[in-house]
Structures are given as C-alpha cells and as structure tokens.
C-alpha cells in the first residue's frame, strides 16, 4: 500500500487530476496556461525540447517493434507509444496507431480515479496492463502496457504502449469477433491490472496470459515489445530532466498541451467556416439468420447521425445525438474509443504538421449520449469490434470538415470519406500435417490497411493504398501473411472492379483476394464489413458511395482434381452475377448479399473470397472527363457496363491494341440521354416528400429500419422532434417493432 502522496507539491494524483479539470473548466486553457512563457523566453530551447521527446518516442517504437513483436505489429506497425502527464494527458506521441493515444489517457485516468495510489499502490518499476474498452480502449485485442515515471519521489508522468493482438482468446479465433455478444465472449480481460514490478513482468501473469489466448507466442512477444518501448521512453524522460531540469519539464509539459489546443483553434479559423455541419452514416448487422445465440438473432441498422458546430472562437462541438442503442453484438463502442476517434480525425485533417497531443482533445466539446452505441456505459456488453460502428460514423466528421475546407477554398484538402478498413478475414485452425502439425494458426491479416481513399475536389482518390485507422497504408506482403496464417495460402489477389465510388473525381479502388484452406483441420472462417447499406456517409457534391461488400465461399470443391489436371481455377469475382466460382468449380458455392457472418467451418480445398473497400466519389459522374473514364477501363477500375450506365461512356475493347476505345460521339449522345432521364425520372421535392412520408405512415418500412427509428426516438427527444417535424407527424408519433 502506498503511504506517500505521489503527486506534486504534496498532492495525491486524484487531487492533481481534479485541479487539472477545474483549471481548464474555469480558464478554458489547459492547466490554466494563458501565457506560453517557456516558448516566448527561448523558442529554440522549447522546440528542441519537444523535438527531443518526440524523437525519443518514435525511436522507442521503431526499436521495440524490431526487438520483439508479432507479425501484425512488425509488418503493418500496429503499435504506438505516448508520454503522459501525471494526470494522464498525452504530451508527445510516437508514430503508429494513434487512436490509442487518447484511449491510454483514459486508462491512466481510470487508474487515478480508482485510487490505485492507495491500493494496489503505484511504485517505481510497476507495470500495468489494460485492454478493457470500458475504462479506456477500443477493443479487447488492443493491449496496453503502462508504466509510471518517477523523479525522486514524485510521479512525473506515464509511458504507455499499445499493440494489436491476433487473438485474445475470445469465443472464436480472431481479433474482431462477429460471434461475441457479451463481455464473457470477448476473450481475456485485463482491467488496468498490475502485472509486474521492478521492471519485470510477473511469472504468474505470463503463465496465465499464455493459457488465455490462442497465439501465446505472439502475446508474449508483444508484451516484451511494449515494455521495451515504455522503458526506453522512461530513460529518455529522465535524461531530459537531467539535461533541462525538473522545473523546466513540469512547465514544459503543460505548455506543450496548451499549444496543441491553441493550434486546433488556429487551424480551424485558418481553414474552415463557422457554422453547422451535418452528416449521417449507418452500419448493417443482419444477424437474424446468422447469430447462434437466440437473443442476438435480430436484424439491425445502427444510426450514426453527426452534427458539428464550428464556433466563433475556433472551437468545435461534436454530437452524436440520435445514435442507436447498444446491443447483443460486438460493435458497441466505449466513450474513450470515440474520443480517440475524433482526436485522430483532427490530427489527420487539420493538425497533422503540428504538436499532436491531447490539446486536440481539449479543443473539442463532445456529446456521446449515454446509453447509445457510442457510450453504452455498461462494461458487460461485448466490445470486441467497435470499429464496425466507429469507422463509418467518423466518415461523417471527415465529410463535414470537407464542406468547410471547400467553402474556404482549400479544395485540395477535401476528402468526403475513406474505405472501410473492414473484412479483415479472420478465424484459424490447426496444422494437420507438416513440421508444425498440431500447432494452431490464426487467420488475421492486416490487408485491410490498403483501402480506397475518397476522391478530393481536385483529383481521384488513392487506389488500395489508404487506411484511416491503421498506421501503415499498405496491403502487406502476401508471403508475410502466409507465414502465420499458414493454413490459408493465397490463390489470388487482384483489383476489384466497380468498387470505386462514382464521381467527377472517383474514389480509390479496392481489391479482393481468394484464400484456399490447406494442410489443416478444425478451420473456422468469418469476416465483417458493410453489405446491405453503403459504408459511411457516402460521396460528396454529387459523388456516390463506394460499392458494398458481400460474402462468397465454396465448400466441397473439386480443386484437388483441378490442380492435378492443371485446369483453370477462379482468380476473382469481377462480375458477381456471372461468377468465376460458378463457371470453374464443382462445389457448394455460397453467396450472401451481406458481409458480416458468424464463423463457418472449412475443410482443405475449400475457398473463400474477400473484398476490400473502394473510396467515395466527388461531384457529378457525368462531369468526369472521358479520357479519365478510358483510363479507368484500361486499368480495370470499372467495367464497360458500369461506365455506360453511370458515366454515359460507350466503349469497346480492342484486342489487338489491348486497350479500350471510346466512341466519343456516341458518348456525348448517351450523356444527353442520361440528363433527359434525370428530368423524366425525378420528382419535385414536394412529391418526393409525400412519397417518402407514405412509407412511414403506411407502415411500409422494413423491420430493421423501424427498429432504428424507434431506438433513436426513444433515446433522444431532440432527434425524435426533428424527425416528427420534418415529416409533419403528430407529437406522439412513434414507430414500433413487433
């Protein structure tokens, strides 16, 4: 038990936290810092101090991932480190998966608020482990190591590191488990737990951890990786204090965060327009037929409405008023993860070149309504895959900020959204033959780190090379993925046509892959992404959303025979209505219009197909340059039929020249025809309003749509009022779900 107060000037950590919160509430400045005295007195020393700490964290990350790390961490860099104040506010961060900078902040605050200072005690050399989203994390497969940093007898900060695990021992193998519907399905939980002392991880913890997950070697490697990085940060901070002095350090960490806050307000005034911005995003959970558990068998659409107010002082307020409720599914998202999410958006869009720390967190007023999917307030729900809701929801923020960037003239910064870093194919099995016979393998590639980016207002989106939420925009090497998912070698990986959102500037294209089960037994497979609804808030200024995903797999195939006879096998699914699977295989082929499925069992020679996301488009597709459409055809981004329907372009493939030839005259006529169709097939707004209202009052809405409106109206009087007012419905109007 700790007897001495660990805070500064004889305070406890809780007293320091309360004072910090009071000062920002009263002064609107972080820790009441209204004057940047260190920066003003000696700006070179101040900037050198920041750069040296920043360099230490980046160095810690780069070194640690090479010291010891699992393949996901090493290949795609799924880790990050941060330095925190004694109260848990981030001062400086490494590169990496930055959403966790603020989630670890929440975990430190949890430790303080739960008075760990008293029990179990916080001592030099202690090691804490956390993966509980309800007290500061995204999902349970993100695992954090936190250590306190002491100078003499005062706690002067925290070092934190996080890595993404392949498996945490949940109800099925994998890292975003569709089948988890409650906390007890999520796998092993460490709720800000002390797991070591004197810089050593306790043996009993490691024995327990190794027995709690399906990939114990990777777990242990990553624990060492995080601790190594944290210890390097601690050494760097102590060197910093030796060099600069403890008084300088204490003032510097406050000023650096206040500067981060001020920078957000400056950037907002420089690049946006004050006013009100709105967007809506949705996610589909078609679990009525998929779920194993009776209470999880419902079809649901999550409502993710976003309103942003850019205020006169350059501050931002953000609200998800009207959000759907949580549920017996893994997509529940804790408040800390949402706060980490908005922080990441700001660092990507507005403050990417400046001091990135929790100053950006303090610059935003947030409303994640309690009792909704984005702040359930219930630790017993499943938090295995909150990304399912968080990722589409925050496309709305990107789109809202883009309206402002466009109006201010910064068209090159406009991005209506990003592809869904989903359908991370998952599962696992046991080697049935070979040198690794009897060992488990996990199917968890991070190919998802290469999605299509949305178009901007001046150019097309990046093809299969962007990941909003992952640190490296990179598909990764097939050979590396095959190393640890040895039971599922690749049969093919190709650009997926017609995934790019349509527009004057098209979104980036996605890609697809085929895996074959081999040398294994007891193989589970599943995946998740958008399917029945489009991802996120869609395109902008007339651009369309990128295509949805779907599920395709083949069981009981004749692939062994095909290989023996050296015959053709499927390399993709370019036209889902006339599939290569059906043409080339004798098999039980399953196609589902949605993507999120509970695990299915595979035998050797079974195949699965997975599609990665394109990005949304910008502007009217009929304004796309004809030459750009020809390039799309030549590069396999779109097919002939789609460019005819959407872009009004008439083309034929020249087999001799091996390129697409455009009939320009016919194209211009086709475009005129499409304009005429717009006149003929559109309604006046009043007609449209009547047409849509009938769907509501005549009870023509489907069950999941009814459920979505019903939940949002129950959870938010404000949203219910807006809904009723727009459709001129009585004040007591409600929608019921049978």
């Amino acid at each position: 038990m700790g007897e001495q107060k660990l805070g500064w000037e004889g305070k406890t950590l809780i007293e320091m936290l309360i004072e910090s919160e009071r000062l920002i509430e009263e002064t609107k400045h972080y820790y009441g810092i209204e004057k940047m005295s260190l920066k003003e007195q000696d700006p070179f020393r101040y900037e050198r101090a920041y750069a040296s700490l920043r360099g230490s964290l980046v160095s810690a990350r780069e070194t640690a991932l090479h010291v010891a790390a699992s393949p996901i961490v090493k290949e795609i860099g799924e880790l990050c480190f941060a330095l925190y104040t004694p109260e848990g506010d981030s001062i400086v961060v490494s590169t990496g998966i930055l959403v966790h900078v603020h989630t670890m902040s929440e975990a430190v605050k949890f430790i303080i608020k739960e008075n760990y200072e008293e029990d179990p005690g916080i001592n030099p050399g202690d090691i804490f482990l956390n993966n509980d989203p309800d007290c500061g994390n995204v999902h349970t497969t993100d695992v954090q190591t936190l250590i306190p940093i002491f100078w003499k007898k005062e706690l002067i900060g925290w070092a934190g590191g996080v890595t993404h695990q392949i498996d945490t021992g949940g109800i099925t193998p994998g890292h975003d488990l569709v089948a988890a519907i409650q906390r007890f399905d999520d796998g092993v939980y460490y709720t800000c737990r002390k797991i070591g002392s004197n810089d050593k991880i306790w043996k009993d913890h490691m024995i327990n951890a190794r027995r709690s997950v399906r990939t114990p070697m990777y777990w242990e490697l990553d624990e060492k990786c995080r601790l190594a990085g944290d210890l390097m940060i601690r050494d760097a901070v102590l060197d910093f204090i030796e060099r600069e002095g403890i008084d300088y350090y204490k003032r510097f960490i406050r000023e650096a965060i206040e500067e981060g806050r001020v920078i957000v307000e400056k950037r907002v005034k420089e690049r946006l327009i004050p006013g009100r911005y709105r967007a809506a995003a949705f996610f589909d959970l078609p679990m009525k037929k998929e779920a194993w558990q009776p209470r999880a068998k419902i079809d649901k659409i999550t409502n993710e409405p976003l309103e942003i107010i850019v205020k006169e002082d350059g501050g931002i307020s953000l609200s998800f008023e009207g959000a759907s409720g949580p549920g017996a599914n893994p997509m529940n998202c804790a408040k800390g993860a949402m706060e980490g999410g908005q922080w990441v958006l700001l660092t990507q869009i507005l403050i990417y070149g400046d001091k990135v720390n929790d100053g950006a967190y303090f610059a935003v007023e947030k409303n994640y309504p309690l009792g909704t999917w984005c702040n359930p307030g219930d630790p017993y729900l499943s938090y295995q895959s909150p990304w399912g809701n968080l990722i589409p929801a925050y496309t709305g923020m990107m789109k809202c900020l883009s309206y402002g960037l466009f109006a201010r003239g910064f068209r090159e910064e406009v991005v209506p959204g990003y592809g869904f870093t989903g359908d991370g194919i998952q599962g696992g099995g046991i080697y049935s033959t070979g040198p690794l016979e009897g060992q488990r393998w996990a199917l968890s590639t991070f190919e998802i780190s290469g999605q299509g980016l949305g178009a901007s207002a001046v150019r097309d989106g990046l093809n299969y090379g962007y990941a909003m939420w992952n640190p490296e925009a990179d598909l990764g090497d097939v050979e590396t993925w095959e190393l640890f998912q040895g039971g599922v070698p690749y049969l093919a990986r190709k650009v997926k046509p017609n995934t790019a959102g349509f527009g004057k500037y098209r979104g980036g294209a996605g890609f697809a892959g085929i895996g074959i089960t081999a040398f294994s037994k007891e193989v589970d497979f599943f995946g998740a992404r958008d399917g029945l609804v489009f991802h996120g808030s869609g395109g902008m200024h007339g651009g369309y959303p990128n295509a949805t995903g779907y599920r395709l797999y083949a069981k009981n195939t004749n692939l062994q025979e095909i290989f023996q006879n050296q015959e053709d096998y499927p390399l993709g699914d370019p036209d889902p209505s006339n599939g290569e699977f059906e043409k080339l295989l004798k098999a039980d082929i399953v196609r589902k219009p949605y993507c999120s499925i509970f695990p299915v069992t595979f035998e050797n020679y079974d195949l699965f197909y997975h599609t990665q996301s394109g990005g949304p488009g910008y502007g009217d597709p009929l304004e796309r340059k004809i030459d750009s459409v020809k390039k799309d055809l030549d590069e396999g981004i779109y097919t002939k039929e789609i460019v005819f329907e959407v872009y009004g372009v008439i083309s034929d493939y020249d087999k001799v020249k091996e390129e697409w030839i455009i009939n320009r005259e016919a194209t211009l006529k086709r475009r005129e025809k499409l304009y005429s169709e717009r006149k003929a097939k559109s309604l006046s707004f009043d007609e449209f309003w009547e047409y849509e209202k009938k769907k509501i009052v005549e009870k023509k809405l489907s069950e999941p749509v009814n459920r979505m409106y019903s939940e949002s109206m129950q959870l938010s009087d404000k949203w219910a009022k807006q809904f009723r007012e727009f459709w001129k419905l009585p004040n007591d109007f409600n929608l019921e779900v049978k």
Partner: protein, 163 residues
C-alpha cells in the same frame, strides 16, 4: 508567406494540376489569401452578376441579391434563402428497388432497398447532380452545411459582412 498565382488556382479548380504541382500545395503551409483568390476566380466564371459571398458547393454559391443572401447555381437557378436547405428546392430521384440500384452497382455491390435507398438531388435548372444521399427509407433529408456568414466575415476576416 505562401501565395499561389491566379492561374495555378484556376487550374486547381479545374483539376488540371499535375501531381507534382499539387503535392506541394497539399503538404505545404496554406496561402492566407486563398478565400479571396478563389472567390475572385469564381465570380469571373459565373454568367450572372450577383456577388458571391461563399462557395457552398461545386455548383452552388451563397450570393447577395437585393440585400438578401440566397443560394444560386452556376446555371442561374435560385434556391432561395441560404438558411433553408437548398435540397428542398431540388428535383429528386429515389432509387428504392433492387433493379434501380443495380443499374449503378453490380449485384451484391449496392445497398438492399429494404435497408437503404439512394436519393439523387438535381438542380431544377440544369439537372446537374448536386447530392447523393444513401439513407434508410423515411430518413429526413440532411441539411449538410449552414454557414455562419456574419461571424465568418466580421470575426474571422475582420470585415463588414456583405448583405
């Protein structure tokens, strides 16, 4: 201080900058006169005389007309008071059947109309496509962006807000 010449910004608007030209504009410090430069270029491009107060959209502008602020398309169609959602003056096409959605998206690659429909909002004057909403049937029309023009001009630009 960074500044770009008018020709460069005109080519930015038309999407004609090469990647080598565009990249430094994206990653560099921003030009502080951008708003005024873009406004000047846009004003020269439109065929009507009303003063543009704010570019709201690729084709829509908040303009000053007879002392009132209205939304106007570059084709000349006027949508009325900027504080009201301009979409409520649009022509709207609703794609709420699989057949209509699959005209645009291949089978399995578009939304299920029972879950989500596609709404296309056209300018009644020129029938340019102004916005696409993909929302569940019955979802209220979204009011994308309501700028606070007075605050922007008077507090941020330190100028008298135009009428």
């Amino acid at each position: 201080m960074v500044e770009y010449d008018k020709k460069t910004l005109e080519r930015l608007i038309t999407g004609d900058l090469t990647w080598n030209e565009l990249k430094p504009i994206i990653s560099g410090r921003k030009d502080t006169n951008r708003f005024d430069m873009i406004l000047k270029i846009l004003q020269e491009r439109v065929q009507w005389k009303e003063k543009i107060l704010l570019p709201l959209h690729e084709h829509l502008y908040v303009v000053s007309k007879n002392g009132k602020r209205i939304v106007k398309c570059d084709c000349g169609y006027e949508f009325g008071d900027y504080r009201e959602n301009w979409k409520t003056k649009c022509r709207v096409r609703v794609r709420d059947s699989a057949e209509q959605i699959n005209q645009l998206y291949p089978k399995y690659m578009g939304s299920d109309p029972e879950w989500e429909e596609i709404r296309e909002y056209f300018c009644p004057g020129c029938f340019i496509l102004l916005d696409v909403e993909t929302v569940p049937p019955g979802y209220p029309t979204i009011f994308n962006f309501l700028p606070d023009i007075d605050t922007f001009y008077e507090k941020w630009l330190n100028r008298k807000a135009p009428g």
